[in-house]
């Protein structure tokens, strides 16, 4: 973990409320897919907590993030322009495992998709076969489809059917025996459904509210099946399926 005064090298709104940003750091970030950056929204003391955002693409000192404008913090970050500096802590957390063979199914919902793109690229390098099911509320939330298709056989879902298949990423999961393991990232109800339905075990990445992001505040403590406690920021955000109670 390091603090970087990252420079925004490009910014694009890829949907009305989804921002794609490229950040340039002094040193290579040396991040793994599934790890995240912790961004401090600019505002002279207005913002106290950093915002966890997954790494979506990474190469040496350049890194891409894709995030949805939710509240004031992500809006303030999205207002910045290329050339502006951004206070970034990272990389943080444990990423996805470095699978070397077989077929991996990527299951992403909404802003859970960006980290899966990083994973897809890595898995592709490893020679793994990749399938992807990515789901969104509607066509205005759809993102990263072309990028994903570069690495994976991709099925797009929207809840209202306005793009791709109508339905959810978990809809045909129970009967899908074409993968050895999965990487899932998205809202908690989706992850629960994935764990319940997937015929194989896999890995889930949690989007828990965080304080510090590096283990110091205990804001993100979750319970494992055996009753022991883990920190989503430090021991996660990626866990084995069913490892922690959702």
């Amino acid at each position: 973990m390091k603090k970087h005064a990252a420079v925004i090298s490009s910014k694009e709104m890829i949907q009305e409320n989804i921002c794609s940003m490229t950040l340039q750091t002094d040193e290579p970030l040396e991040a793994r897919p599934g790890q995240f950056l912790h961004l401090l929204p600019p505002g002279e003391g207005r913002f106290i907590l950093r915002r966890p955002i997954s790494i979506c693409e990474i190469e040496e000192t350049e890194c891409r993030i894709v995030f949805r404008l939710e509240g004031d913090g992500t809006k303030a970050v999205a207002k910045q322009n290329s050339g502006d500096k951004l206070d970034v802590l990272g990389p943080l957390g444990q990423g996805f495992p470095d699978i070397q063979s077989g077929t991996v199914l990527l299951i992403g919902g909404g802003v859970g998709v960006p980290p899966l793109l990083a994973a897809a690229e890595q898995l592709h390098k490893n020679g793994v076969r990749i399938q992807a099911r990515i789901g969104f509320a509607d066509q205005n939330q759809v993102m990263l489809v072309e990028e994903m298709e570069k690495w994976a056989e991709t099925i797009v879902y929207t809840e209202d059917g306005s793009a791709g298949r109508k339905g959810r990423v978990t809809d045909e999961l129970e009967t899908d025996n074409g993968f050895d393991t999965y990487f899932a990232c998205g809202p908690k109800p989706m992850l629960k459904a994935v764990e319940a339905k997937a015929p194989a075990s896999g890995y889930v990445s949690l989007e828990e509210r965080m304080g510090c992001g590096f283990g110091a505040c205990y804001a993100c403590v979750m319970e494992k099946e055996d009753g022991t406690l883990v920190k989503a920021c430090l021991d996660g955000p990626v866990f084995q399926s069913r490892e922690v109670l959702l």
Partner: protein, 308 residues
């Protein structure tokens, strides 16, 4: 003598900066970021007699220039704190202030006895004001008599100096301070968090699972400075000032207000390197202005000095 050094009961500090309890865990995460020997002291997370699992999630929320937390005193219990958490800190030449909490005087007496006799801590900090657990001792935090009785009981068993951490959720902070001073407290820590809450406007429901939480950060600084200013003129024991410190100016404000040392809480989350950064900035400032920590302490209310 070093310009920055300060001597508090039980704690010979290289400088007046220390992390605040609950914002530094037991130091492990920070030890991998910088040399803890730089710190004036370390305040560790609250220990309770038995392990506590803490509150349900979400436990943290952001407010304008502040944060709410309702961690709920999660800790492995005093025995494990002594056997697992405190020993790694012994390698540093830094005083350790051990925060303790409980739901009855017996709890405090028990942890105080165990901690003070462990030989691993320099002083105790009684958290008589945790707003985040039903039985977190909040009653001691607003009633001078119970606070005094508790202080007395702990002083009787403690072999190290005892600091009492005051709650700002009171109409008479000076009365509280004087009560625990008379009961034998060696120092004061102030302030703990204000009780606050935030409602999620998307659902209409409180964001924190615990409903309310403790408010900290720059938002509360004016309240903290006011209380230190007031109390420091009415007690003769030293005050560890805290509440919203994140810049050199904030540190100076607390020292001017009358604090002998300054603790940094929430800012450790925003910037994990904040403590060493503030220490360097203060050193440089003192050097430039040819001042010492003790010379500027209380300047806001002391009669005008030639130095000004």
């Amino acid at each position: 003598m070093n310009r920055s050094s300060v001597k508090l009961p039980g704690m010979d500090m290289k400088n007046p900066i220390l992390p605040a309890s609950g914002c530094f865990s037991f130091g492990r995460e920070f030890a991998s970021l910088y040399d803890l020997n730089q710190l004036g002291a370390v305040t560790v997370k609250a220990a309770t007699p038995e392990a506590k699992r803490g509150n349900a999630l979400p436990r943290a929320a952001e407010t304008t220039a502040g944060m709410l937390n309702a961690i709920g005193l999660q800790n492995p219990g005093v025995e494990k704190v002594i056997s697992e958490e405190l020993p790694p800190l012994q390698q540093y030449d830094v005083p350790i202030l051990a925060n303790t909490a409980g739901s009855s005087p017996e709890d405090y007496v028990y942890t105080a006895r165990r901690l003070s006799r462990s030989g691993l801590v320099s002083a105790l900090e009684l958290n008589i004001s945790c707003p985040n657990v039903k039985d977190g001792g909040i009653q001691f935090g607003s009633d001078p008599e119970s606070a005094a009785a508790l202080t007395k009981a702990v002083k009787e068993v403690s072999s190290v100096p005892v600091y009492v951490k005051l709650s700002p959720n009171t109409s008479d902070i000076t009365g509280m301070a004087q009560a625990v001073e008379s009961a034998g407290a060696d120092g004061l820590s102030m302030i703990n968090t204000l009780i606050g809450m935030k409602i999620d406007v998307r659902t209409g429901r409180p964001i924190l699972a615990n409903t309310t939480g403790g408010l900290s950060g720059p938002a509360v600084k004016p309240v903290a400075v006011r209380m230190v200013y007031e109390v420091s003129q009415h007690v003769s024991i030293p005050i560890i000032g805290m509440g919203g410190v994140s810049t050199l100016e904030d540190v100076l404000e607390f020292l001017y207000a009358g604090a002998s040392a300054v603790a940094v809480g929430t800012a450790n989350f925003t910037n994990p390197w904040i403590c060493p950064e503030l220490i360097t900035a203060l050193d440089t400032w003192l050097e430039e202005k040819e001042e010492t920590v003790s010379s500027i302490k209380g300047r806001s209310w002391k009669p005008c000095m030639s130095a000004l």
